[in-house]
Symmetry: D2
Subunit: 340 residues, 4 copies
């Protein structure tokens, strides 16, 4: 049995706990939570777990083999560093850290100590993203021309990060996974409406080279919840709408054809467009978090790195940092720094 | 009776013709169309109209009091100029011209000759936009914080203009109308996927001062048609979805409240958010184009300027031009030139 | 050119007129309308047509080759009979008549005089119904098990017919077309809420033998407009939603499998169900009414009967009459009378 | 603490267990499950609970104060009877029993022994149904004219009951709750497509007197999941769509007005219809099952009967039985027997 130590029993922590507890090879050994109401709820749900307000107690607990960190972003670095230093395998809520330098340190530490460092990009374990990946990899869409994602809702305003750090990790992880590529330049624009310096609405524009772009609309101040990603290909196009109860992924046999030989009077290529059938493949229906935890448990036992390891998390943080620089400079075009 | 001379019987021209013909004070006096098939269709539909391939013949036709121009954007300036010079009231398809300088000249010419110069921003005559305007003007939304519009579909690629000139005029006209303000700076990003230098996907970011922003996603290469505008206010929020059969406008009693007196340990204001009822007001169901033509006919008879006059059209072109400068400079922040 | 005489320029008449006028082989020769406002609108739209308030004048007009009847149901029989007697080809709005006896007489009269008798079941000319028919005929759905249709909206309460006569003709014509079969028994239930004896909500249950059923919900008192038909097959299932802007027809690779060899302790067959991909075929995008009128014009010229001839219309009336008997007898099971 | 004994850990049982366990006054004392895999899952989730394959062992267990029965319908009577005889408060999955006679016996037994007998009609505890009830009770809709419900999906075919017994309890409980009335007559039609005598598609038509009707479409063989209820009132209308993520309840200011004084030539009342605003009230967001269990725990402690007591469950069974008689008699009109 893998003893799980969970730091943070707020919004996401209970979901992690429930899924770890449901895994036959895992058990909740300890929970660290400073809020007394939440700590009490944890105690009731997991009567056999050690409940503590001090994360060091948890990390050092003999029954804890694996530390899961579900606390505000600004605390990730310290908690993960100490967990790795204590020799524990570690899962960190997304984004991994606030800066690339911190992420780099955690990745190196995990490598040095031969510990697993995982980042909780749960979306990569959904049946929908797996199907999108499979369709893109099959070449059915042709060359990818653009990705456009809208991820907006009336959101939990966070105190230590802006809407980019909160929501963009999802889109970045999905885009990297699908495109198997990383942006060469970013531009970010937005606004702060809550009386502080934290953007609550942001637009990210990413260049992937070769005329491929991605654009994300991130917003905590939308009256409606939208989770919709378009992927335009040279042959077909795909819509992934996570708010659909079923049929989350639709592939449209629609596109354009350049008739370069049939030039008009101004010597311009003509563009034909065509619409065709639509196809919504059946998706695997597993709970994503359950699949992720199964992957993690297997990693712990076989000592391999998981689908979303520290490097994946670091690549996401690299772009977050570049976007942060851009948005504080009025959308200036920023080329992400090479990872040290 | 007002004799209508219509230049261009392609995609939009027949709609204009049908609505003019249905107005009791208007009749189709002449149609100019160079394509022989289209000319024949015009002749069949309006057997009493003069059909010609030469726009000068139409402009100079004695029965033509009012010239309606529904041709590619690059031709608007010449046709409208000549129509005004011939003393005819004139309606020009959006956008009015390609450049502000051209628009300026037409506006001045219309003023000088005391002719009506109208621009066909049909959306302003829809029941939906009228209701949005009414709601915003009532103050129900509080201060407007942002406008976000998505206007995408698998589009008719145009040869003489990019997707900004094709689709942004709608959003610009609506935004100016609602906000009663114009952008102080713009940034535009996009990509060209059709082997030419014409953007088929574009993102416009507009600053209106005082932290108010607007953002438009314009795309000819989307497998799905979306026409959705969000308006975030400090008190309430509005969604205008033009693809809804009914209930195009929804007002959400949702928003955030700053609790500035209840600062947390880091001395930051807390943000509460609340969700409440949703309300979809009944909309006037008139056909917008019919309402616009009724307005134009009344203008002709009373010699007043219409809701969308040349100045409105010029203001739209001014921002289009600034966006064009920005998109050709990798999204550089561009402050629109003062109108000369 | 075929001279069209249109009786009735109310709700549907103008649509018929516009589509006839747009056909290169047809022209509006005469319009009969008793309401003076409507007559004036007809005169303005068709300045060359004879406008009259007396249907006999229209029928006897020398320029009228083809009479189109778009008047309340109770008048169809008389107008169509007189048109056929006058030797004119005739199109009658659905339903053809109120009773089978009347329908029989018109069908016989048309045969005797070798005139075309068409019924305006426009839906059969839509790309959606054509595709549904094609899919069903291909055998892709397996055996049809049931059809369920919901056709409801806040409706124009009619004075001379109940909601069954108003809305069921659509579903009946579509069901007969798809199944190539007619009901062996019907049961109808409903209610009258408008202070008269006219049902404004009705439910029809049709038996087609061999355990195949169809059920229609018809309602003039629904706050929302729904036009949704489910077709359950033994292999796949289909949803035809006419309110969808695109993707009106969806085929689901879902169904049940009987495992008759794997009986449980109670010796009952086990039922497995499976869900699979969904597929939305591209539909022809013609305007249905235009396609219908093209078919009619071709029929007039080649002297063949149209897709929806008098016999089709009569079969629909036969079931309407049986449903009427049932609904006035508390849903009693009624076997439709053999057509005399 | 209330010791919960749960009989049946299949589809619904784990949900009951989880919600009981989350209640501060309840604990899972015992689980009865014959399937060994499920029993093991129960043991892992509730390590302190007694796991048994014999329901008598559970019922007689000293730590069990409250028996929750989540087994196939045909077993409810026996298990509930024995639980009540053993002096335990009891919750039974819906429907309470197969026959009214059995339900009557349980209700009498509970009264005699002063035990709580609850039926798990969870929908009555949803924010949506509570809001519908509140709106109807306020009189905002005017007189209720009809209820129409569609409750269909690709369903778990059950072995011991048909689709009526599976799905209609939801609609019946909601309709009785909203209307505060019970049907005076029922008619049921349907079909069996799975090679047995169990209807998998059914239509229920209920008369409530005074021209008020309800109609339910129940279907295990639909490719799409629909949960939509329309309530037509004389003043306004309501749509309750349980598949909507938010805005499950919408009230339409739409309806008809009889102009009895303005009679037409045939001396019939004219009907005007009007459409107006739509309003979607905010709903309470509690989990319904959690709210139900809180109600039950409070009942146990205060010895009052719950919202859905045995009488409510018996009233539902009474109509199920009448529908069963009707559907086996080709939709014959059946007046439900008076409860003995």
């Amino acid at each position: 049995m893998i003893g799980i130590g969970l730091i943070g029993y707020g919004y996401w922590g209970p979901n992690l706990a429930r899924n770890f507890a449901a895994h036959p090879e895992c058990r909740i050994a300890a929970v660290c939570e400073q809020d007394s109401d939440r700590a009490e709820r944890a105690a009731q749900a997991y009567p056999d777990a050690k409940i503590t307000g001090d994360y060091r107690t948890l990390i050092e607990h003999a029954d804890v083999d694996f530390v899961a960190i579900a606390t505000p972003t600004s605390t990730h670095y310290q908690f993960a560093r100490d967990a790795l230093l204590a020799g524990k395998d570690t899962l960190v809520e997304k984004p991994l850290t606030t800066t690339v330098a911190e992420a780099r340190e955690l990745v190196d530490l995990a490598a040095e100590r031969e510990r697993i460092l995982a980042v909780d990009h749960t979306f990569l374990y959904t049946g929908a993203v797996q199907k999108v990946k499979e369709v893109v990899d099959s070449g059915a869409l042709g060359d990818i021309l653009y990705i456009d994602s809208v991820r907006i809702n009336l959101g939990l305003f966070q105190h230590d990060v802006n809407v980019i750090y909160d929501l963009a990790p999802h889109d970045l992880a999905i885009a990297f996974h699908i495109l198997d590529a990383e942006p060469t330049a970013v531009q970010a624009l937005g606004a702060c409406h809550a009386g502080d310096n934290m953007e609550n609405v942001a637009y990210l524009h990413l260049e992937f080279g070769n005329n491929v772009i991605a654009h994300f609309h991130l917003n905590w101040l939308s009256p409606v919840k939208i989770r919709k990603m378009l992927i335009g290909g040279s042959k077909k196009m795909l819509v992934y709408d996570d708010m659909e109860a079923s049929e989350k992924v639709k592939i449209y046999d629609s596109g354009i054809t350049l008739r370069s030989d049939d030039r008009d009077e101004a010597n311009r290529a003509k563009v034909d467009y065509r619409t065709g059938d639509m196809w919504a493949p059946k998706l695997a229906t597993q709970e994503a978090l359950g699949a992720e935890i199964a992957d993690l448990a297997s990693c712990v036992q076989t000592r391999r790195q998981p689908l979303c390891d520290g490097r994946t998390g670091m690549r996401v943080v690299r772009i977050l940092e570049a976007c942060q620089t851009s948005i504080k400079n009025a959308g200036a075009r920023v080329e992400p720094a090479a990872i040290p």
